[in-house]
Point group: C2
Chain length 349, copies 2
């Protein structure tokens, strides 16, 4: 027994008005040749019957499902709410639904997750890769959101520029010795952010990078970063490559009795949910996720419309980098005398 959906379909509208289904279809889509008044009448009738087209029927005929896949190999990413929200909004504005797929952090199951999406015949995919995983060619157009230096990247925040602005902000406050705190050296995003920060160093300044995952391989997850020692070595600013690491630095420094921002400054990236409400609130770089999502989705829908896309084509966008915005809050301040009593004195920068 073929289950018929509750709502009305094209043929019900057609028989009800005494016309053919083709005419109804044409009237609603505005494609064929239908007289103006008949179009009017059909649309009116369809509206009052509460007609909603069956995506299944349409998909079967056109070969398009009207659904985009969102692949997040690192779904535990705290940015996920913002990403998902932005993509869903942009996609639904373009008439698409969003199907999520997750590989639970395991890189091996990433292809499996992609396959699940292909089986559901998504029209395109947006992939936010973890680390530098090569995206194997899939059976549909693919947009990649990572960072400009990732090969095949479609659109992303300008992480390099973001790093540069953080550096300019800190140097403008008088800081000369900056500790960059990252999580993982293999992350293209974190590398670009760190590169941007280093590009802002002026002569006589010093930047050093601390990679947390290396530390944790020895000390275990959640181990101390030894930041108090770094303060004693003369570092006055701690530029984390993500707000998660900034938060970690902030609490560790506070626990060691170091005051922020009077003693040292702490900055982050991404403007995550806790950043405005911790004490002191975090100075950070915000990415315009809405705009990035919009660009990615429109690049994807363009590729879907013009069917020139060969299988597994990575789509490109005219705008590949979206500027990040500096959000100055309480955790960064002038490099003043407050730090003096904590320093050994030999590093004066």
């Amino acid at each position: 027994m073929p289950q018929s959906r509750p709502g009305p379909n094209l043929s019900r509208i057609a028989t009800s008005l005494g016309v053919s289904v083709a005419t109804v279809s044409n009237a609603l889509s505005g494609k064929g040749r239908v007289s103006g008044q008949l179009i009017e009448k059909i649309r009116e009738h369809a509206a009052e019957l509460g007609y909603v087209p069956s995506q299944a029927g349409r998909a079967l005929r056109t070969g398009r499902s009207g659904v985009l896949g969102l692949v997040l190999p690192d779904i535990a990413n705290p940015l996920f709410p913002k990403i998902a929200q932005a993509i869903e909004f942009a996609a639904s504005a373009a008439g698409y639904g969003v199907l999520i797929a997750d590989s639970r952090g395991d890189a091996a199951t990433q292809t499996e997750a992609i396959n699940r999406l292909v089986e559901r015949s998504v029209d395109g995919m947006i992939i936010i890769p973890r680390r530098a995983t090569r995206i194997s060619a899939a059976a549909c157009p693919v947009a990649v959101i990572d960072t400009a230096s990732t090969p095949g990247n479609t659109v992303a925040a300008d992480h390099w520029q973001g790093g540069r602005e953080i550096a300019d902000h800190l140097t403008g406050l008088g800081h000369r010795r900056i500790l960059i705190i990252g999580n993982n050296q293999e992350s293209n995003v974190q590398n670009d952010r760190a590169g941007g920060i280093r590009s802002g160093m002026r002569p006589g300044m010093h930047a050093e990078t601390l990679w947390i995952d290396r530390l944790e391989q020895a000390g275990g997850i959640g181990c101390p970063l030894g930041l108090a020692e770094k303060v004693r070595q003369g570092f006055t600013a701690f530029a984390a490559l993500s707000d998660l690491q900034a938060l970690r630095a902030l609490t560790e420094l506070q626990q060691a009795g170091i005051n922020i921002p009077t003693d040292v400054s702490v900055t982050g990236f991404d403007d995550l949910i806790w950043s405005p409400v911790v004490t002191p609130s975090l100075t950070t770089m915000r990415m315009d996720m809405d705009r990035i999502a919009e660009i990615a989705v429109s690049a994807l829908t363009d590729a879907i419309k013009t069917r020139v896309t060969r299988e597994g084509m990575l789509v490109t966008a005219e705008t590949g980098r979206v500027a990040m915005q500096l959000i100055v809050r309480q955790s960064s301040g002038p490099c003043g005398p407050g730090t003096k009593n904590l320093r050994d004195g030999e590093h004066v920068g």
Copy 2:
């Protein structure tokens, strides 16, 4: 021009083996009457051709899309990554895809988001409501994940028990004056958690609740909570109803020079991503989101299979509450002499 999908379909397999499509369909689904050896042969051939069934064709015929909708009116919820991951995992194990819908926090557009899902003919929906929004009947089975006291709730963590365990933990450590920190008084979840904590109070103990959103209506977003004053009033434990509020309390107390856990204890809920890595790491209650998702999805798929579900039926599960687990970390400790020097002395519990 009807676009044919790249892969093979049933009829290609059928002609290639000289049988009918019906037989192929039956062989693959194991439904009709097909001889054992022919089943073997067909499945083998299908596998080597890399056959994947068209969801569109199947959906059209069966009236089922094989997709569940996930509605999160409060998508900014920091729990979202865990929720989405758990639901996606449970759904894909049951052979379903997950379509997300978001109402951007706006309660008015919640119905619109639900409608988008209905248009894409999802077979069922999982709704995680914000506040106490009544779920209006939709055109498919609906599972609600909130808390036991929400009418129509399908399955949820046992927030009351979680609160009770936090209370027992803190009283066991000798705390007698506990400040409960919540965000919003209208949240069923937060109310249940607070209720659980209060239920654990023994004679002579005192619990008070601080609602942040009320404070912020006057003081603005991110305003101080005045916790140092509370410490002076004799509170030795701060039990936040979410790790986000716990983090806020933790940093504010640290900034005021109050040491955790030697001076006061701080606990949270949900075991969010930062909880293990801040200093001191957060004692918190973890919910078994995987199990909750599994129960919700199986309740939903059961309702879908047995089509007795009238439109808009809220499904129920045999197990409505899933126990929470106490995670003891560094932010809670004995109510000892460390607090003495900060207290006025009149409240000794």
